[in-house]
Every structure is written in structure tokens, then in C-alpha cells.
Symmetry: C2
Subunit: 203 residues, 2 copies
């Protein structure tokens, strides 16, 4: 029983460290040895936990996604924000996290998509799941915002959510190149205050 608990704990540690290391160094840039040394697991026992590095990476993506969605849902549950404010604040929290990490990590999903998207079927499936789960929350909020005229209704919520996702992920690449979040903040502000805004009524 104690052994099972210790084994589960090690598995969780491997996934948690995997999130940090893969976010910073990428899939191919993160050697298994680095992860195992960090968690203090002997090299030979890695395959007791995961079938392969690819399986490990897919589980890392699922774990990252579950954590992100849980934070989203917890924030939404306790928030009294309007639908559009809620989206803005969730993104603002993520920007602050990336700033605190020194602009070097960015979004694990985006980084992995750039590096191995389409190459690893297992990881690509995990990316698609994460994308869908994130997007469905954003679409619901945009639809709510459209109902109360916070957001323009001449573009479908689904399309606005895609534009936001893409602009955000691209802006995180700018963050990594530019070493700051100026473009991320500029693009988010542009989307939320001008692009998403309903057309002004003629006076």
C-alpha cells in the first residue's frame, strides 16, 4: 500500500517537473536524464511509469491542460466579472504568470504544437482535446457577452474564439523573441477593447 502511494507520488512528480522542463526546453531539448535527475528517479525505472517519452509527453500535456482548466473554472466560479471581463482577467493572470517566469516558457501547448504537432499522434490528440476544452469555455463566455451587447454579434462567437486563440499563441511567440510582454498586452487590449466591441450606434 505504502509502495503504491510512493509510486503514485513519483509519477505525479515526474509529470509536474515534466511540465516545467518541457515548457522551457521543448520536447527534444529535454532529455529524460534531466527529468529523472530532477525528480531523483533512477534511469532504469522510468519505464515503470511511462511506456515511452512520447506517452510521457502526452500525459504531461493532459496534466497541464487539467491544471489550466481547473484554474479557469475555479476563477470563474468565484468571480463576479461580466463574461468579457472574465475572459480578459483569465488572460491577464496568464500574462502575469509568464512575466514572473521571465518570458522564457510561454504556453506548453503552443510550444509543443510548434515542435511536434502532427508528428506524434498521441501528443497531437492530447493537444486537440486541450484546445477543444479551452475553446468551449471561451465560446460560451463570448456568446453570453454577445447576448448583453458586450461583444459584436456580426461575427460568430466560434470565430472570435479562434481569432483570440491564434492571436494569443502568436503573441506568446513574440514574447519569447522580444523578451517582454509588450506585444501580448497590446494585442489582447486591441482585441478586447476594439475588435470585439459592438459597432458604435450612429448618434
Amino acid at each position: 500500500m505504502a509502495r503504491i502511494r510512493r509510486s503514485e507520488k513519483t509519477r505525479e512528480n515526474l509529470l509536474e517537473q515534466g511540465i516545467h522542463l518541457l515548457s522551457e526546453h521543448g520536447y527534444h531539448g529535454t532529455g529524460l536524464k534531466l527529468i529523472l535527475d530532477t525528480v531523483k528517479v533512477p534511469k532504469g525505472s522510468f519505464y515503470n511509469y511511462f511506456a515511452s517519452k512520447e506517452h510521457f509527453a502526452a500525459e504531461i500535456l493532459d496534466t497541464y491542460s487539467a491544471q489550466l482548466l481547473q484554474q479557469f473554472d475555479e476563477y470563474a466560479a468565484k468571480s463576479s466579472d461580466s463574461p468579457l471581463e472574465l475572459i480578459e482577467n483569465v488572460y491577464s493572470i496568464m500574462v502575469k504568470t509568464f512575466e514572473a517566469e521571465g518570458h522564457i516558457k510561454g504556453c506548453l501547448l503552443g510550444n509543443m504544437a510548434a515542435e511536434i504537432g502532427g508528428h506524434s499522434e498521441l501528443c497531437t490528440q492530447s493537444m486537440l482535446r486541450t484546445l477543444e476544452q479551452w475553446k468551449s469555455r471561451i465560446v460560451t463566455l463570448i456568446e453570453q457577452a454577445q447576448l448583453i451587447q458586450q461583444v459584436r454579434t456580426d461575427i460568430a462567437a466560434n470565430q472570435l474564439a479562434d481569432l483570440l486563440w491564434c492571436a494569443w499563441e502568436g503573441a506568446l511567440l513574440r514574447m519569447k523573441i522580444e523578451g517582454n510582454t509588450d506585444t501580448v498586452r497590446e494585442v489582447l487590449a486591441l482585441l478586447f477593447t476594439q475588435v470585439f466591441a459592438p459597432a458604435k450606434q450612429p448618434v
Copy 2:
């Protein structure tokens, strides 16, 4: 003399194959051996051409950028498109290229930014140069389009160019995850036909 020419040719071949291999497999995912085997260069002589893999990657980025900008400028020189049509057509040509490549490569700049942006100073500097050169062309065209009321003027050309760059790079990540260009095409159409459009005049 013949030796110098052969040496230059080999160097060019290494850079050309480097573009293809790094676009598909990433920086860490592309071993030097694969590149050298492809170009049929003995392993020991790589360092006659480049000081390190990092120097090689920075030159690959510069070469990729120079090719892309040359294609842009050649297309612009012979085109009779309006400024906005010119931007749309340049992006449309890139979409078709990525489709022909099987959706697996995407933009080398974006892929490298995700994987090693901020880690390699040499490569990051090359990415910044490419970004600026591309953006200055887009900003000029958007300003021209604004002058003839093809594009809204309540958002600065510089900001619209940033939004386009970010949305495009993010959409290419979607292409790699989704294995098609549906989102890329959707987001570009949304930007060019609705987001960039001037506000409709009240009738």
C-alpha cells in the same frame, strides 16, 4: 578557385537543407548527422563551414528570411493588386505552400521562436531582424490601404500588423495540430474582410 566555388556551393546546400529539416523537425529534433548525410558532407568538415550548430541555425533563419522577403518583393513589384489585396495574396500563397508540404512544416521563424526563442541570443537576434523586415512591409501596405479607405483608420497600422502577425503564427500552430488549413483560412478571412474593414457609414 574551383575549390572555393565548391565550398560555397556546399555551404549553400547545407543552409537550404537546414531550412527544410529544421522547419519539419525543429532545432533539437534535427541532428547534425541528418543534415550532413543529406548534403553528403563528412561529419568532421561541418565546422569548416559553421562555428557551431547555433551559428548554423542563425544563418538558416537569415537565409529563410532573405528568401521570403525576396519572394514578397518580387510578387509586389509585378503585382497590380491594391495594397490590401497584395497582403491577402501574399498570405494566400504561403497557405498554399504549407498545404503542398502536407501541413507539417509551418513557419520556420514561429517554430524556432517556440522552441529556442530567448534561449539562443544569436538565433533570437536573427528572429528579431526577420520580424522587423516583414512587419515594415506589412505596415507600409496597411498605411497605403488606410489612405484609400480599404482599411479602418481608428487602429494604427502598426497595431493591425502586430495582430495579423500574431494571429497568423498562432493559426499555423492550429494547422500543425489539426492537420489542415481550415482555421488559418478562417482567421485570415475574418481579419481581411471584417476586422480590418472600415466602419460602415450609416445609410
